[in-house]
Symmetry: C2
Subunit: 137 residues, 2 copies
């Protein structure tokens, strides 16, 4: 099980062969986005194995960096993510999963999106606060 090796820039950007680029830890970032509202729900990472399983199952399978194991989202929490579409970017080193979120939310805290706090502009690093947001969209 392996994806083709990324080719030269032109092929990577304009080609129609999927050659995902994994980093030095074998990971690629995947943005989970609600397929209907466009709300960004979370950012997680995939190994080649996780990505292959996601393509096969049509459900999001990530790699847990903290637990260092394959993470079929929802398998223990019920927060399954049904994948409607996967997109890759110009240099094929990032993914978007356009998904339908099951189980009431994407975040383990119970929030719909993991992005439930805003960082107000104009602050300095030494003194920067967060403000809760109910729904970024």
């Amino acid at each position: 099980m392996s994806f083709p090796t990324p080719g030269p820039k032109q092929e990577l950007e304009q080609g129609l062969t999927f050659t995902p680029k994994f980093d030095q830890y074998g990971l690629i970032p995947a943005i989970a986005q609600d397929h209907q509202t466009g709300q960004v729900l979370m950012l997680a990472y995939m190994t080649a194995e996780a990505l292959a399983k996601t393509l096969e199952l049509g459900q999001a399978v990530y790699y847990s960096r903290s637990r260092q194991e394959l993470w079929h989202k929802g398998a223990t929490s019920g927060q399954y993510q049904i994948v409607h579409q996967i997109l890759t970017d110009c240099d094929q080193d990032a993914l978007i999963l356009r998904i339908e979120q099951l189980g009431g939310g994407a975040c383990h805290t119970g929030a719909n999106s993991c992005f439930y706090r805003a960082v107000p502009l104009g602050q300095t690093p030494e003194n920067s606060k967060l403000t809760p947001v109910s729904d970024p969209d």
Copy 2:
């Protein structure tokens, strides 16, 4: 110029102090999303310095991993990104920039979004193709 050190899990997830977590290269991923349509335009990375400048200017400043330098998006291309809102996630190791894209698009290829190709589901890694998408939203 430095952000506070991340605290314990509870504080990280529920607190209202911004303590962004940078990886071992000093980077944090930032998702640029159109503030009106919700379309995800690109994924890039920031150093603490880039993030501080973004907060100060209200325009996206990233760190270019390939050029290994601060990257004020648009300074050479005109593709400036006016930041309307910044969000951080539960463990504060990822950001969303809700932006207004100037200069006709976010991608250096001329596309509005860098995510202009889809990865059809059900494919095997050995034989996976891409299909162009005109607008993922």
